[in-house]
């Protein structure tokens, strides 16, 4: 089972026990097609409150974009969020809590829309810890580890238990008792006029309960009846009661008789050809529940609320706990309906239907800045530390870098800002200039900003600048390392021609006279 994990912080340690690959930080551009399952594990960002607020509401859009792009049917596990660190001077300020609550509710909405999305309630795990235990600031600042590595091991155990729960959770069938379960009273004694259904409380509560069950049925859950009644009495209700919602034709199997309920439920399982472990039985009578629990331990038998006004909440819990995941075949049945809902929703709400609109919404501002006293240390540090997006991986110190500048070569850093803030200097290009020729000595970007096609804007900007400067030919080089295979074809994609190629080296050339450059309008580009 291979996992691909979308993340915004360093969380590898938390998933060490899985066969997993990780996205870049806040990178949703790459979706590993080979993965069997996907995980969304974003921690609440540590930032000023308004940035937390904006980012978190943004994440929901990203999740939906991913949900649309992954292969239907592949499980997509999404963690709820808990804001573990905010500084609030106004104690009554609930903005962050509200934002995070909205986020979490949206996840459940998405899960009901996309059957392959499974929501994991992360706060259940976090409640085992005090808030000051959750972050080790040393690891946070050094490695962007959003959680204390100390709790990684217990997280792994918890997560595996959740996965197992998700897999077992798939219940298919809701088996219902009738008297005092779907309506108030006993039809055999009170008659069709005497039962509570519709009208004032408590009848109203049973109506709501029935309509919620109908909703489950609409979502593909099989309904069945197992009750001790005379079938004629019940049919009379189904046919004649003005407020009946769950009518006979909605039930896939009926056992309305005076036999032992355990036998009846076994028969229903056989008739529907489903396992007992995929059934949930609702009955107001504790004695009957005990019988089923004892004789058919595979069947799930939840406690039933004593007060009818608790029925809506009860059913919501049942739905979340046992029916929030549906088998694929049942989803297929309702695909058209879901599809219709999707298109309607798309009309009413702005969404990222493609990568460009996502990128555009980031309002990215790219600033290139030439080597100076303030940025030289950062430039050198980037050559030392950057492994993945690094075409030639030279390791320079400050004086090496200064030498390029002294010889009249170009040394530029890239600063990336977006609507969420300033990422700082996160890219570097060193271009050796030799008369009408240029050579791309160094090109690197920090993994923090990958996944936004910034690399193309960055190189295009400089190719254009070289051309305006009178350069005719640009050479470039890729040197393979253990870490930089993701850029092995970068120069091809950027429009270079492969000149020479060996196992660990690719040499490129581009003739600037024959190329026109168009800077993408997704980015605001400027020179400091």
């Amino acid at each position: 089972m291979k996992y691909f994990i979308f993340r915004n912080m360093t969380i590898e340690r938390f998933f060490q026990n899985l066969n997993a690959d990780f996205s870049g930080y806040e990178d949703v551009s790459v979706i590993d097609e080979q993965a069997d399952r996907y995980i969304w594990f974003y921690l609440a960002p540590i930032a000023e409150n308004h940035i937390i607020a904006e980012k978190v509401s943004y994440y929901v859009e990203l999740i939906e974009m991913i949900a649309k792009r992954i292969t239907p049917g592949k499980m997509f596990i999404v963690f709820t969020m808990k804001c573990v660190f905010t500084v609030q001077s106004v104690l009554s300020d609930r903005m962050i809590d509200d934002i995070v609550n909205t986020y979490n509710t949206s996840l459940y909405d998405l899960a009901s829309k996309y059957g392959n999305i499974k929501v994991l309630d992360f706060s259940r795990f976090l409640s085992n810890y005090k808030s000051e235990e959750l972050i080790d600031w040393k690891y946070y600042f050094i490695a962007q580890m959003g959680f204390n590595p100390m709790i990684a091991h217990s997280f792994q155990e918890w997560f595996i238990a959740q996965i197992e729960a998700i897999e077992l959770k798939r219940k298919k069938c809701l088996v219902l008792d009738l008297d005092n379960t779907l309506w108030g009273g006993i039809v055999g004694e009170d008659g069709i006029e005497g039962i509570s259904l519709g009208g004032d409380y408590p009848g109203k509560a049973f109506s709501v309960f029935q309509s919620l069950i109908l909703e489950l049925s609409n979502q593909g859950i099989i309904l069945a009846v197992c009750s001790k009644n005379n079938i004629e009495d019940v049919r009379q209700i189904w046919k004649q009661h003005p407020d009946i919602i769950l009518k006979e034709e909605l039930f896939a199997a009926l056992r309305v008789n005076w036999n032992n309920k355990a036998d009846n439920i076994s028969e229903i399982a056989q008739e529907l050809n489903i396992g007992l472990d995929s059934m949930v039985y609702l009955d107001d009578n504790p004695t009957e529940r005990e019988i089923i629990k004892n004789y058919l331990p595979e069947v799930t038998v939840p406690e039933f609320p004593e007060q009818p006004y608790m029925l809506p909440y009860f059913l919501k819990k049942i739905a979340q706990r046992y029916f929030s995941i549906y088998a694929l075949t049942e989803e297929d049945k309702f695909k058209t309906k879901q599809y219709k809902q999707n298109t309607e929703r798309m009309k009413s709400k702005e969404q990222f239907i493609d990568m460009d609109s996502y990128l555009r919404s980031l309002s990215m501002q790219l600033t290139v800045e030439r080597l100076n006293k303030l940025n030289i240390a950062r430039f050198a540090q980037m050559t030392q530390k950057t492994n993945q997006f690094n075409l030639t991986t030279p390791r320079y110190n400050e004086s090496d870098i200064q030498t390029f500048e002294d010889k009249g070569h170009w040394v530029y850093g890239l600063r990336v800002k977006d609507r969420f803030g300033d990422n700082g200097i996160t890219g570097l290009i060193i271009i050796a200039i030799n008369d009408k020729n240029a050579y791309l000595d160094t090109l690197l970007l920090s993994c923090r900003i990958l996944g936004k096609n910034i690399e193309y804007a960055f190189i295009t900007y400089f190719l254009n600048k070289l051309k305006l400067f009178g350069i005719e030919k640009v050479k470039a080089l890729y040197i393979r390392t253990d870490k930089n295979t993701q850029v092995e074809s970068f120069y091809e994609r950027a429009g270079f021609k492969l000149d020479k190629c060996s196992v660990n080296r690719k040499e490129y050339i581009m003739n600037l006279n024959r190329t026109d450059f168009v800077l993408s309008d997704l980015y605001k580009m400027e020179e400091a």
Binding site: R13, K138, I142, A143, M145, P149, M150, N387
Partner: protein, 73 residues
């Protein structure tokens, strides 16, 4: 102590043997992420807390051993 450090390295880098001159340059598994994992293993094993400045200086067996000794004494 040196043996315990080597054991932590074996666990972190998934090695069967740890050579005396091991370093990020000679060991492919010793990347930045596993460097953190190693630090964490050592902190847990020896019940110490390294400072962020220590992190960058702990790239050989000798450096790690000296750092640990200075913290424990």
């Amino acid at each position: 102590m040196r043996d315990k450090i080597k054991e932590a390295m074996k666990r972190t880098f998934k090695l069967t043997e740890v050579v005396e001159n091991i370093s990020p340059a000679t060991c492919a598994a010793w990347d930045s992420l596993n460097h953190l994992n190693l630090i964490f293993e050592l902190e847990t094993e020896f019940n110490v807390s390294f400072s962020p400045e220590d992190f960058v200086e702990m790239k050989t067996l000798n450096d790690i051993e000296n750092k640990l000794k200075s913290l424990i004494n």
